[in-house]
């Protein structure tokens, strides 16, 4: 790994990351503060099962269900996914398209080290967002009147961080293999959204329920970390996917021409 590359990549991503982190904390605090006022009435809503699955069960009557639907299923993975994907694409394919990489790689640094250093910076971005989710949930749950333990909040943040790492690794792999920022961003975002849809709808159709296992989203939240804690097998899967994707990314960029 190259420390200057990691430091610079992180420095360039830090303004957007910190804005998102502060925004996340503020939103989660607001969501928590809203619960005492609306939780009782909104909890009586009858949500169709398909819609409920999209929203993490649609159980708005409890603090756990409220945060699962409002934060865990949509908002947190959306923010972490967006920052991981755009950051990974910009730091690799973006710099290549902007012709900056042609100069950087004329320095004595292996392409593998460069990619690992960029990935380390994106991992730091992911961890900052996961930490913000952790802080925001603690604050939000407190404002909602309590109901989720620190352990379960930590479990969600950890599962989310591993999900963000895997999605970021996917974007880096696509960027390293093609050198095209828009392709890496678009395909990785598509995979993330498709994973969310598969994870939500596949269980509704028994013959397709196995599809959920191909969704990264399933390994993030399928085990419901807010009520059941950390799921080690899911973390292992997400970790292996990240590792495998990084190996592919390194192999891809080592073998191809840098784009002019």
């Amino acid at each position: 790994m190259s420390r200057p590359v990691t430091q610079l990549t992180l420095r360039l991503r830090l303004p957007s990351t910190m804005s998102a982190a502060v925004g996340l904390i503020a939103v989660m605090a607001a969501v928590g503060a809203l619960f005492p006022a609306v939780g009782h009435s909104i909890g009586k809503l009858h949500v169709p099962k398909s819609v409920g699955n999209l929203l993490g069960g649609g159980d708005y009557g409890t603090v756990t269900g409220w945060f699962r639907s409002e934060i865990a299923i949509i908002y947190a993975p959306l923010v972490i996914g967006a920052l991981a994907i755009t950051g990974a694409s910009a730091a690799t394919a973006g710099e290549e398209e902007d012709r900056i990489l042609a100069l950087v790689l004329a320095y004595p640094i292996r392409r593998s080290r460069l990619i690992i250093a960029k990935a380390a910076a994106i991992a730091a971005v992911v961890l900052i967002i996961a930490l913000a989710v952790w802080i925001g949930l603690i604050l939000g749950v407190a404002l909602a009147g309590g109901g989720i333990t620190i352990w379960h909040i930590t479990a969600l943040a950890v599962q989310l961080a591993f999900f963000g790492l895997a999605i970021g690794a996917l974007a880096i792999t696509l960027a390293a293999a093609t050198g095209r920022r828009s392709l890496a961003t678009g395909v990785a975002a598509g995979v993330a959204v498709l994973g969310w849809l598969i994870n939500s709808f596949a269980p509704l159709v028994s013959v397709l329920s196995w599809l959920k296992y191909v969704s990264l989203f399933y390994y993030y939240t399928g085990h419901d970390p807010l009520t059941r804690g950390i799921d080690l097998p899911s973390l292992v899967v997400l970790g292996l996917v990240t590792f495998l994707l990084m190996a592919i990314a390194i192999r891809s960029i080592e073998r191809r021409d840098l784009r002019a």
């Binding site: 610079l8 360039l12 900056i100 790689l105 320095y107 004595p108 640094i109 292996r110 021409d257």
Partner: protein, 299 residues
């Protein structure tokens, strides 16, 4: 000290599949040479430079740089080479100082006194973001990062692009110092006036192929020359077209521009049969030299 050639390519080829690239390039550059690569855009100059640095892989052939294989020893090659890419791009959000600090750390082992002396020499702007700098000011930073570790070999793609005449002079004197120290420079340009001032030898590339390698002096000798002759009254340019060696003659009002190869004697003698107000030799440019080699190539 490098015993053999600093750069040696054997059948070096790059096929992009679009007709452009590099075709079986055999070229040697010796130690202490300032060597120019000349050719229009798309001739294969940048392709060759990128191949030497392993930024792209050859389709066939090989290259040795500083006695090392350009692919298997690429890391060591890049450690000993300074590179300025054509169409330089830097991190737009960083200041000039931030960019140089980043490259200093990335390179490792840079003597900051040498770097700071280069900054002063080129009057590089360090305190403003790259996105606010002119192309010339960005190019100065590019030159500083290429020279700052005092490399054995400098590979410079269109180095004076955007530089004002004063900075160009600084750059040329720096090249002279580098040559005097026995270091080697390979620079590319599409402008003859740039390379003729600083290079010992140059190669002309056309459509990815090496057309000629020779000294600037020899190339000038065979180049098409141009004379602009201003007469007191209009003169028929056909008088000149019939002369031996004349490639072209065209008139605008009372001024005739004659392009010719070899001796100027017949042109001057015909001109002298009229009242001549002024004779202005035109600098032979790249097109003139190409014209010479296109003709040789196609006959």
């Amino acid at each position: 000290m490098q015993a053999g050639p600093v750069i040696a390519t054997r059948g070096l080829s790059k096929d992009y599949g679009s007709g452009r690239g590099l075709v079986e390039l055999d070229l040697e550059v010796g130690q202490g040479e300032v060597f120019g690569l000349l050719g229009p855009n798309g001739a294969g100059k940048s392709t060759m430079l990128r191949l030497l640095l392993d930024l792209i892989k050859p389709t066939a052939g090989s290259a040795r740089v500083l006695g090392l294989d350009s692919i298997s020893d690429s890391l060591e090659v890049r450690g000993r080479v300074g590179f300025l890419p054509g169409d330089l791009a830097l991190y737009p959000k960083l200041t000039g100082g931030g960019v140089l600090e980043y490259f200093t750390q990335l390179r490792g082992g840079v003597d900051r006194r040498v770097r700071d002396a280069l900054v002063e020499r080129f009057d590089a702007v360090l305190d403003r973001p790259i996105r606010q700098l002119s192309a010339g000011n960005r190019q100065k930073l590019g030159l500083v990062q290429a020279f700052m570790h005092e490399p054995e070999l400098l590979i410079l793609d269109e180095p004076i692009a955007g530089l004002d005449p004063l900075v160009q002079r600084s750059f040329h004197s720096l090249l002279s110092e580098v040559r005097a120290q026995g270091r080697t420079v390979l620079l590319s340009s599409h402008t003859l006036s740039e390379v003729e001032r600083v290079t010992d030898r140059l190669a002309i590339l056309r459509n990815g192929r090496l057309v000629v390698v020779d000294s600037v002096e020899n190339l000038r000798r065979v180049a098409v020359q141009r004379l602009e002759i201003e007469f007191a009254a209009p003169v028929d340019p056909a008088e000149f077209r019939a002369l031996p060696g004349v490639v072209d003659a065209a008139a605008v009002d009372a001024t005739v521009t004659v392009s010719f190869e070899g001796s100027a004697d017949p042109v001057v003698k015909v001109a002298a049969s009229h009242y001549v107000r002024a004779v202005r030799p035109q600098d032979g440019d790249l097109e003139d030299i190409f014209l010479r080699y296109y003709r040789t190539d196609t006959t």
